[in-house]
């Protein structure tokens, strides 16, 4: 089955991004496909390559980048939300791309299920 994922909150502050990541990994392990992960609202803050969490904590950003690399997942950051919050190509982490809200709607249409993680 093809899943689309929507993440509405940034890393660390809320559990949303963690839950979304663990859901994606479990879906892949079950043999499903992750069609796209769309980052909206504060969710765009998951895409900053400047993040540097404490060594004993998980690195939420690089974990997303790595998952995308290994499973060829499309990580899309909403351009309007990103501009408001200072996420641009210059601080974008690997395997994320910035695009429009149309990419969210497209996932809603093409994926079999769209699952939202937020606050």
């Amino acid at each position: 089955m093809k899943f689309g994922i929507l993440v509405n909150e940034g890393p660390y502050q809320h559990q949303a991004s963690d839950s979304a990541y663990l859901f994606c990994r479990a879906a892949l392990a079950r043999g499903h496909e992750i069609h796209r992960v769309f980052f909206y609202h504060d969710g765009v803050n998951n895409a900053t390559k400047l993040t540097e969490p404490p060594q004993d904590d998980r690195n939420i950003v690089s974990r997303w980048s790595k998952l995308a690399e290994e499973h060829d997942i499309d990580l899309v950051v909403c351009v309007a939300a990103a501009l408001r919050r200072g996420i641009k190509d210059e601080n974008l982490a690997p395997n994320f791309r910035i695009s429009g809200l149309g990419q969210l709607v497209e996932t809603g249409i093409q994926a079999d299920r769209l699952v939202t993680f937020g606050d």
């Binding site: 089955m1 899943f3 509405n8 559990q15 949303a16 839950s19 663990l22 859901f23 990994r25 479990a26 879906a27 392990a29 079950r30 499903h32 079999d112 299920r113 769209l114 699952v115 939202t116 993680f117 937020g118 606050d119």
Partner: protein, 98 residues
Amino acid sequence: MLHIINKSPLDRPTLDSLLRMGQSGAVLLIEDAVLAATQGHAAAEKLRALMTKMQVFALAPDLEARGVSDRLIDGVTGVDYGGFVDLVAEHPNCQSWL
């Protein structure tokens, strides 16, 4: 429909909203919402009312993180992330009550 609730019932009204509007299908409690499914909790009665029309599940990793795995009320089924994925796949549609 699979209804996903992620907030504590003593911090947000989503469980009440679902009780009013929810029709059928299943509910999955994740993140802080798992606290609703613990013995002696003020929301346990609401959860029992919900069970009369829907199946209720709770995400085990979130129960463990909050130290309440051993207090799950009868009638609520613990699932892992794989079970979460299965629930989404098995229902024709889903809704996160944010």
